[in-house]
Amino acid sequence: MSLAGLFLITFLLVHLGLNLLVITNNDPMVFNKAAHFMSTNKLIKVFEIILFGGFLLHIIYALILQAQNWLARPKRYHKTNKSETSPFSKWMIHTAVIVLTFIVMHLFDFYFKSKFGGAPEILVGGEHYHDFASMVVTKFRLPEFVILYLAAFIFLGFHLIHGFQSAFKTLGLNNKTYTPVIQALSIIYTIFVVGGFSAIPLVIYFQ
């Protein structure tokens, strides 16, 4: 669970790096070529399988964990828990379901379209490329799409701000010197990832 979670955390950084190409480059072909490379390269194909495995593992463990935890308290308290704790931790499964819904929609929009057709194509230098860059720009001109996207990342942020540092505790990695650093990194990483992914629709929308 924790290892799969940390793996997904590194994946998000790579994904963010690629996406930022859309707003940092004026030439849309930079992003299209990067996306093309990611969907055709053999080594990346291997990573793709590992990535799906990572998601699957994380989700399966999450479901088992959550089911056991709900079963461990068959009768709930009348006056609910007032203990002072991490608020994000209490909502992990709920933020997870929102993120999962978003991921499925996201796969329909990009992954399946690139595999089974439906994405716009352009011809550059005798080779066909999916024109994801202009697709992204078209979508992010729609306010409802921007809001949906931003909301999904805020919930991902809630998931990460607890998950990042929790994974280290689960792995037994804590001590007086590094734990405060990890707690700080957890916040910095979350702000960076949520901010980075959110900047893309905002920049395009207000362009």
Binding site: A72, R76, H78, S83, K90, G172
Partner: protein
Amino acid sequence: MKLILKIWRQNSASERGRFVDYSLSDISPESSFLEMLDILNEKLIMEGEEPVVFDHDCREGICGTCGMYINGRPHGPDELITACQLHMRKFSDGDTIVIEPWRARAFPVIKDLTVDRSALDRIIEDGGYISVNTGNAPDANSIPVNKEHADLAMDAAVCIGCGACVAACKNASAMLFVSAKVSHLALLPQGRIEARERVHKLVARMDALGFGNCTNTGACEAECPKGIKLTNIARLNREYYRSRIF
């Protein structure tokens, strides 16, 4: 003080329970929470009703028997105390106080507010001790112990097995309790010898008894009357992986 008490009444684990409202007046703000319940029970007995069953023993905050969930918090609205050390001055005149038993699958209700917490003893039985007789206290310096470890071990050893951590946890997990027991023995040379088997057996038993899993939420640490730290849970995880891998 005038109070309205909303108390969970349940005859046995197999029967359904329900809340019953009681009103009390003339309660001194200086009386303890359990004294307040004693006054209620005397009144109930005089009226020919069944008194409310609740667990208590030392009434000094050291035995861990007096578990109850008061207004949404184990041991009620104060830090680092058990319910017997809670005083009515923490409440205001006219308050409604909701009192429930610890709720966890591993802690079935015996009657009213008393639950069967022996699941914690079952965990200890599986290795929460040192198997050899160590005799009288040895000379203080015959076994060198590093000061930092000695302090951490003693901090973990103050766990009184009250179960507030399980009661507070959204997953009804006993990780804080188990981590305290594992830590206080694993940090000292005498306990180190059996550390590997111990952590393994204790965790296996905890899982088998139907406690939930730890998600590092920290409600246990916030509610533990003895201030057991969450860092013990990370140590338990570390000990557990070490016992599996090396």
